[in-house]
């Protein structure tokens, strides 16, 4: 329960400018909290990649340890952990999320893949 899954996560968050660890996928979120983050990212027209922790028990535990964060979803922007559903929602409402995306030079346009 350490290296292999951590390496996978490191690669994913390095490769995808916006990476969301969630339950289900962008088309079919399987949890209300995951669905809310998908909605926010879609609303902001941010392309993002997702990983479904329900399909991978090792990832589900691994991401919690990696981020030192006990819940799913978890959002990473440019390799940096932004937070879970509460923080993302709060940052969206205050406009901070949009500022962060701009500051980090995250490309915008099309909806989720």
């Amino acid at each position: 329960m350490t290296q292999p899954v951590f390496d996978r996560i490191k690669t994913e968050i390095a490769e995808a400018p916006v990476m969301l660890y969630m339950k289900g996928n962008a088309m079919f979120p399987q949890c209300g909290f995951s669905a809310r983050v998908v909605q926010i990212l879609t609303h902001l027209k941010v392309p993002f990649k997702t990983a479904n922790v329900l399909e991978d028990a090792e990832l589900r535990e691994g991401i919690k340890q990696f981020s030192n964060w006990p819940t799913i979803p978890q959002l990473y922007v440019k390799g940096e952990f932004v937070g879970g559903c509460d923080i993302v929602t709060e940052m969206f409402q205050s406009g901070e999320l949009e500022t962060l995306l701009t500051e980090k030079d995250v490309p915008r346009q099309a909806a989720a893949e």
């Binding site: 919690k64 030192n68 964060w69 006990p70 819940t71 952990f81 932004v82 923080i87 709060e90 940052m91």
Partner: protein, 77 residues
């Protein structure tokens, strides 16, 4: 397994004695809570760090027996 609001509050207060803690039972089912925690100890910390402090205070219950705790943290005005 659900937790009662008082337990959640006690755990948070044990870790952050100065905190003002408000727990709301959202669904009345002892399973979906919203917590607002205001503490001087959060000053200067990112939201992620603030939430991590609260999660640490809950000693592993978050994500387990406590499956839905909406958390809001801030510093005193």
């Amino acid at each position: 397994m659900a937790m009662v609001a008082g337990e959640i509050e006690a755990l948070i207060r044990a870790a952050l004695p100065d905190a003002s803690v408000t727990i709301e039972d959202l669904a009345g089912d002892g399973d979906h809570y919203a917590a607002t925690v205001v503490s001087e100890q959060f000053r200067g910390l990112s939201r992620v760090r603030q939430h991590q402090i609260v999660y640490t205070a809950l000693r592993g219950r978050m994500g387990g027996e406590l499956h839905a705790l909406a958390l809001q943290t801030s510093v005193p005005e």
